[in-house]
Structures are given as structure tokens and as C-alpha cells.
Amino acid sequence: MTEQMTSKSAAAIDRAKAQGRAALIGYLPAGYPDVQSSIDAGIAMARNGADLIEIGIPYSDPVMDGAVIQAATTEAIANGFRVASVFDVVAGITAATDAAVLVMTYWNPVMRMGVDEFSRRLAEAGGAGLITPDLIPDEAAEWFAASDKYGLDRVFLVAPSSTPERLAMTVEASRGFVYAVSIMGVTGTRQSVSSSAEKLVADTHAAGAERVCVGLGVSNADHVREIAAYADGVIVGTALVAAIRDGGVDAVAQLTKNLSAGLGRATAQA
């Protein structure tokens, strides 16, 4: 993993590790239902146990997202969300908390603004880096240059289908952490955590990754507990989006608190 510069995400994960636990990463889309609510909800997540915050940019064609996140981001766009507001959300959360704030985005909005310009503004807002669900390292030359220039984390994804060669290449390309997709599928809550996740985390560690966080389908404290036993961080998305949809910022705070209860190492819990 590229570690020649300090990584805000890595630092946040390491703080959790120093407390003997995995990190909690909470996802919400920017501008849902409006920009101020996103800031408030991000702060609420950070104050209730989230170590890293992942802010999604609503996009017209979110092929990695299931119905709940699609509905939320479609509504955000219908409500007039503009991509540049994501920097306000990032700045609002980083100003009020210590959480590392990453932006999760499909690639076209970044390309449209200009990769350098987007990166400059994200760094200026205090952002930690980008999670890029439809950008693989093979296509990321511009993003390598910009992320190095502005000191941003590059969080690429690995999947149960990734070959050993691709795992090694992706680990090498990533900075901050590697995002392990727990299952072959799209975002959404699921009954149980896929058994493929643990093997993928082990393989990704073995490929040289210091920090591997697991996402997709994680929705309750039991899931968090199960994953925290083997991963460096646990990523929750759809469940939080459903919470803000049904109960607003208070529900987000409550759910984050519940989820963070699952964070201790399973062995330490027993």
C-alpha cells in the first residue's frame, strides 16, 4: 500500500485499533433529504461512534446501489442537489468532529468537474479521500496524480471475484484502506453476512494490505460484531439511509450507537 504520506483514514482506523477494536464507517448520501441534514447526520454519526464518515455523491446511474440508496439519491437529485455541495457537507462535518470524512462517488461527476479540480476542492474542505466504486486502478492514472498532489486517500474496492493478481495490484494502488465488498451484489441490507467476506479480508491482508474494511449488506450490531472479529473496519450504508429516511437525524444517531456496540473484538466480548 502506498503510505508515503499521512493518511487521514489510516489514522482514524489506527485510533480505533489502539482502543482494541475495529473502526465503524457510516455512509450517507449528500443532500438527502437536504444538504444541512447531511451535515447534521454526519456529525451525529461521528458523535455516536463512527470513526470514519463516507459521504456519497448522488448520481443518475448508480449501478452498484440497491433500491434504498437509489431511491434516496434520486430524491436528492430531484431536490436540486449539486455536486459542489458535497464539499460543504465534508467541510461541515470535519469542522465539528475528528472523524475522517471520505467521499464515495461514481467516476463521471469527478471527471466532469476535472479530477484535479475536484481533488483540490475536496482537500480544501478537509476531506480524507475518495472511495470509487466504478473506478479500478487500471483506469485511474489521473486520480493517482491528483491524490498524490493533494494528499488524498485512494480507496479502491476488492471483491470475492478478484483474482490474486488483481488483489495485489489493487492493494498496491490503495491508500488509507482497502474496501472489501462482502458479497457479489449491490448495496442493500441482507439477513446475514456472506461467508466470502472473511476469506476476502484474509486474502487482502495476505496481499499486503494493512487495513481492510468490509461493506455491503452490513445492517445491525450482530453483523458488525461478526465482521469486527476479522476486519479493520466495518462499513454500514443502507441501514443508515433507511434510518434517516424513516426517523431523521435522531434515528441515525440511535442506529450508529447501536452499531458501535458491536465493535469490540469478538474475543474481548466473550
Binding site: 448520481y59 443518475s60 446511474d61 448508480p62 449501478v63 452498484m64 440497491g66 433500491a67 434504498v68 437509489q70 434520486t74 437529485i77 449539486r82 455536486v83 467516476w107 463521471n108 461527476p109 469527478v110 471527471m111 466532469r112 468537474m113 466504486p133 466504478d134 473506478l135 479500478i136 487500471d138 483506469e139 479502491f156 474496492l157 476488492v158 471483491a159 470475492p160 471475484s161 478478484s162 483474482t163 488483481r166 489493487t170 465488498v181 457479489m184 451484489g185 449491490v186 448495496t187 442493500g188 441490507t189 441482507r190 449488506g217 443502507t238
Partner: protein
């Protein structure tokens, strides 16, 4: 507009390119200039590699090629005819217009060429299920057909809006044993159907091949889909040489994602004397913003796995496209076309709904052929090209133009009846009780009930 000065300057760039000894026809991907690539989730990369590997091996396997050739001949009915449209030609400045009759293929369009090839690959990969997106329904029908033929399960994603526009094709797919899933996200058209097909693929990749219907998407799809359609251009080239003793002056095709076009262009790309034109859907007119002219008015971006021209707003959000033709209603285009546009080898122009429908009626009445509305865009373009190339010529009939007639218009009869005001206020063909169950006008949306399952369970 098709105008002589740009046509000439572009020709010069292409000339220079070809005279440099470079061949354009066999670009293998993943990149076409700066276009193409794989802007895709990591989860799907292994599947794309498997498709690429299987395709590369099959392409070099005489047994596979023989199997495909046999299906093309004895199942699809290839070679398709090249028909001179003598009466239609009189409306195109007197240039001789020849129609490459993909409308005569089994299932009624060029789509079958690609589908048979990919369905054979799916079998080779040991997949038991194919999924497809469809706009006009032609690719869905072709996919359902190939799946029935080869014993594969088939699920077709189709925008709910397109299900209404092409209800007949929904029924055809169901008759063939396929499941049609109406897509209610976004603009409810082709791009949203592709999104849902990709979501299905990522969730079921072990058993499932995504049978993408056009020369777009992530590598290897653009190069692979082109390969399966190259037969169109190979036949057309031999047929025009046989019928006229020379290469054509121009080749015209309509552009949705660009598969029928790249299939016929392929054989002529390296012949600098042949002008090549692609006609995009201009909808209500490109100045209205309601169109699907990605190359004419888009700018490069990434959608569905490829970097290409894309209709997008200032934020990089995809802009919904509009066209009377469901098969052209797509806001991007295959990456090879973006490249051919940039280097000036192919000229891309928009054709409005009105121009296309005028050409549609003209072909019906002059040649006794009802074309697909998609293909009517190429016909309308050919009229312009014919007039341009024959301007001031003593013998206009020396000018030879091939139009790829990509499909037949049976599926479009209802849309055309509405467009030409053939319906009474109940939607019946005037003077009959024959209901077309279609919207009253070209831009009105209907609230028709169609008996297909509602968008089924969400995938979570």
C-alpha cells in the same frame, strides 16, 4: 448539417490517417483512441476477463466459426439481400440507393447476429442464464430467441416507458419463454434497463452471461459486438461490387449504441474513397434539448463501463435522451464511434423525429418496405447525403449509396399510426374498431395497462 466543406476537411484528416498505412477496421480495444476501457466495478472485472478470454479463443476456433456461420445461414437467413431502392432513389438527388436488408433476418433486425454469437459464448462458458437490456425490444426478442434455441434461461430488462411503446415486443419475448422485467428507475428507458441488467449480473455472475445488445459498454463488448456484426459489412461490400462493379460513394447507418453501424462500417473504414455517415436521433430537434444525439452535442464521459461521448449536465449527471425511436433513445454511444468522430473518418449528424418519419413513409410508399423507425433515421440521412453528393453532377446515378436497413417496422406500426394521425380518439384505427392501444401523439405519454409483471422484487 451534412455540408460539403466539413465533409471535405474531415475526409482529408481521415485520408492522412489511412495513407499513413494505419488500418482502422480491426481496432481490438480496450481503447479506441482515448475512448473505451473498463470503467466498471471490480466485482465484474473477472467476468469481463472470462468473456474476453472465451471470445478470443472462440474467434480463433474453426469449430466455433463454423457453428456461427451455420446459424447465420440456416437460422437467421443470411446473407441478407442488398436491394436497390429505385423509386426511393429519386428523392435522394438521383443517387442510386441500395438497402442492406437486415430487416429480413429472423426476428426482424440486425440484433440476431450479435445475439447468436454471444449465446454460443455463454454456452461455452457453461452459463445457464442470459440477461439482456432492450430499448425497442428487438434485442430482447433476439435474446429470447437465441435463449430458446440454445436452451438458456432468459431475463430481459426493459424500461417501463419502452414496454408501453413496444408492447408487441414484450408479448413476443414472453411467447418465447423469456421473463420481461419492466424497469421503473430514472428515465425508464434503455440506460436504466442497462443499469438494472448490470445489477443483476453482479449478483448472478456465476450462472449468468450479460448479453449486451450494442457495441458499447466495457471491454470486450464494443470489439466483440462489432465482430459479430462484421458480417453485415462483409456481405454488403461483396454485393455492391457484384451489383455495381465498384465500391459505394457513401455508407449510411443509424446510431443507437452503434452496433448495426459499426458492423457495416467495418468493411469500408479502410477505403478512403468511401464516405461514411452515422445518423443519431435528433428527437424534437437538437436545439430543443429533447434528443439523443450524443456525439453531436455530448462531451466525453463514462457511462456503463466505457469512456465515450455522453449527454451529461454540468455535474456529470446523465441527461435523459428523447427519440421517437426506442432503439436510438440512449444518451451515449459505443466508444469506437467517438474515436471515428474525433479523427473525422465518420461524419455523425442528427436526424429529427419528423425527418425520420417522413423517410419512413417514403420508403413504405416507394418501395413497399416498412422500415424500423431506427433505420428510418439512416434513410432520412441518405436522402441528404444523396442530394449533397449528386449536387451539380451530370450523372447523379453514378453516385452509389448503401443504407443499412437495420430492421423492419412491424413493431412500429402503432407508433407510426399515431404519428400519422391514423387513429380516432379511442386509439382505434380510424373507421375500424382495431385498437392500437397506443398514445395519441408522438410526445404524449399514455397510461396504458400492459399485462406484464410489475417490477419484481428489489434485489436486496
Amino acid at each position: 448539417m451534412v455540408d460539403a466543406s466539413t465533409a471535405n476537411s474531415q475526409e482529408n484528416v481521415a485520408d492522412a490517417f489511412l495513407q499513413g498505412g494505419a488500418s482502422l477496421r480491426n481496432a481490438a480495444g480496450p481503447y479506441f483512441g482515448s475512448y473505451g476501457g473498463r470503467w466498471m466495478p471490480e466485482s465484474l472485472i473477472a467476468a469481463l476477463d472470462e468473456v474476453e478470454d472465451t471470445f478470443e479463443k472462440a474467434k480463433a476456433d474453426p469449430e466455433f466459426l463454423a457453428q456461427l456461420k451455420d446459424l447465420n445461414k440456416n437460422y437467421s437467413g443470411r446473407p441478407s439481400l442488398l436491394t436497390e431502392a429505385k423509386r426511393f432513389s429519386q428523392h435522394a438527388g438521383g443517387a442510386r440507393i441500395f438497402l442492406k436488408r437486415e430487416d429480413l433476418n429472423h426476428t426482424g433486425s440486425h440484433k440476431i447476429n450479435n445475439v447468436l454469437g454471444q449465446a454460443l459464448l455463454a454456452k461455452r462458458m457453461g452459463k445457464t442464464r442470459v440477461i439482456a437490456e432492450t430499448g425497442a425490444g428487438q434485442h430482447g426478442v433476439a435474446s429470447a430467441t437465441a435463449a430458446a434455441l440454445l436452451g438458456l434461461e432468459c431475463v430481459v430488462y426493459m424500461g417501463a416507458e419502452d414496454c408501453r411503446r413496444q408492447a408487441l415486443n414484450v408479448a413476443r419475448m414472453q411467447l418465447l419463454g423469456a421473463t420481461v422485467v419492466p424497469v421503473t428507475n430514472g428515465s425508464q428507458t434503455l440506460k436504466d434497463a442497462i443499469n438494472d441488467a448490470l445489477r443483476d449480473w453482479v449478483s448472478n455472475v456465476d450462472t449468468t452471461h450479460y448479453l449486451l445488445g450494442t457495441a458499447a459498454g466495457a471491454h470486450p463488448f464494443p470489439a466483440m459486438v462489432r465482430f459479430f456484426h462484421e458480417v453485415i459489412g462483409e456481405e454488403a461490400r461483396a454485393q455492391i461490387l457484384e451489383q455495381t462493379g465498384k465500391l459505394p460513394d457513401a455508407v449510411c447507418a443509424c446510431i443507437g449504441g452503434g452496433s448495426n453501424a459499426i458492423g457495416i462500417f467495418h468493411s469500408f473504414l479502410d477505403d478512403a474513397s468511401v464516405k461514411i455517415y452515422g445518423f443519431e436521433a435528433g428527437g424534437d430537434g437538437v436545439e430543443t434539448g429533447r434528443h439523443a444525439a450524443a456525439i453531436t452535442l455530448g462531451r466525453p464521459g463514462v457511462l456503463h463501463g466505457a469512456r465515450s461521448y455522453l449527454m451529461q449536465d454540468e455535474d456529470g449527471q446523465t441527461i435523459e435522451s428523447h427519440s421517437i425511436s426506442a432503439g436510438l433513445d440512449y444518451p451515449s454511444v459505443g466508444p469506437e464511434h467517438s474515436y471515428l468522430a474525433d479523427i473525422g473518418r465518420v461524419t455523425y449528424e442528427p436526424i429529427t423525429d419528423t425527418e425520420a418519419m417522413d423517410a419512413f413513409r417514403l420508403l413504405c410508399r416507394t418501395e413497399g418496405i416498412i422500415p424500423a423507425i431506427e433505420s428510418s433515421h439512416a434513410l432520412a440521412g441518405a436522402i441528404k447525403v444523396g442530394k449533397l453528393l449528386t449536387e451539380g453532377k451530370e450523372n447523379p446515378a453514378d453516385t452509389v449509396i448503401i443504407v443499412n436497413l437495420s430492421g423492419r417496422g412491424d413493431k412500429d406500426v402503432e407508433t407510426a399510426a399515431a404519428w400519422f394521425d391514423m387513429l380516432d380518439e379511442d386509439g382505434n384505427v380510424k373507421g375500424t374498431t382495431l385498437s392500437t392501444r397506443k398514445p395519441k401523439g408522438p410526445s404524449e405519454r399514455s397510461n396504458l395497462e400492459i399485462s406484464i409483471e410489475e417490477a419484481s422484487e428489489d434485489q436486496n
